[in-house]
Symmetry: C2
Subunit: 201 residues, 2 copies
């Protein structure tokens, strides 16, 4: 059983979080979801409801998986040393570190993507890329796997990224079954990015 820390902050994007959590949650013998935020308690999604963080950063940073969503709230968090320091500590210990959309900006700013390739939402690309010149930013990728780091493109791309994580940890059949159970027409090819801006590679 691996614990996945789902990182909440004010203004996180709903589907960035709950697309991957749906996929991991369906494999309940393999993954346990734990919501984590700077402070335990309710955290409001961008243009959505409050979700309850069960644990605080102070409760520890040892989780097998991390899930860092994007959303407008990343604009505040990029200046939050408490969150960035925690991401640094937690990433050092995690088996797999994942982000969706502009969540990769937070990982990059925390320095944990130094020397690695990564991607993000194509419509926020310049802002994300400006957070670190130590990352090779990929403009055309549904998601990027570089070692134990999985960064995905915008919002729904996180679902495809999470299936790639499941395939690596639990096998291809588990990923296929998760997609079928959720009646999700998965994009299993990380290089197939229908939303990259024209002419970019």
């Amino acid at each position: 059983m691996r614990r996945i820390a789902a990182i909440l902050f004010d203004g996180f994007e709903m589907l960035d979080m709950f697309g991957p959590l749906q996929m991991f949650g369906m494999l309940s013998d393999d993954f346990q979801i734990v919501t984590v935020a700077e402070a335990a308690g309710p955290v409001r999604a961008s243009r959505g409801p409050e979700v309850v963080a069960e644990r605080s950063f102070a409760d520890g940073a040892a989780y097998e998986l991390l899930l860092v969503p994007g959303g407008f709230g990343t604009r505040d968090q990029i200046e939050n040393p408490v969150l960035l320091d925690w991401l640094c500590q937690a990433s050092a210990q995690a088996e797999i570190v994942t982000s969706v959309c502009t969540g990769s900006a937070l990982l990059a700013k925390a320095g944990v993507l130094d020397g690695l390739s990564a991607t993000t939402n194509k419509r926020a690309f310049d802002w994300v890329a400006a957070q670190s010149d130590q990352v090779t930013w990929r403009k055309k990728a549904r998601w990027v796997e570089d070692g134990r780091f999985f960064t995905s493109s915008g919002v729904s791309a996180g679902i495809d990224m999470s299936l790639a994580v499941i395939a690596r940890l639990c096998g291809e059949e588990a990923a296929e079954n998760a997609a079928i159970w959720a009646e999700y027409s998965a994009n299993r090819d990380s290089e197939n990015d229908p939303f990259s801006l024209s002419g970019e590679t």
Copy 2:
């Protein structure tokens, strides 16, 4: 501005709820999300975190849109007269009533789908269909629109259904833009159901 009541109950399915809410939430000039449950306060998702219900059933039943998710919790709610009565009252007043996955079982049991066509998750089809013989249950449909009722197939099908609602209320371009912003490869054809069981229509 239309208010969409997102109905929470213990054991609701995460993506059934947050797929559609992502799409409606992106059109924040047109839709306001309100979480509603039998009692206000935290409500636990199936194999997931708690989400906070802002309003209770007792606070009123007048919303322009309803969103009824599925999930294992529907097995309990199908016997809950408080929820079924509220769905009946709220459906009578709503402009649009939507469900995802086994959420249509609750609408059917409440009697609000009598005389209409509807669909559900294909892997729970027999249980859902057994809740009412007054509904024409469709075994092959990504979602079904019958007047002001939109019922969708399993889990991720709710995203496609919500785009159909947005197209009806806000126009086709708004739906297309929502899908692109979320980097979601939408299935816009309600008759295209890749997950129907073989040979069924």
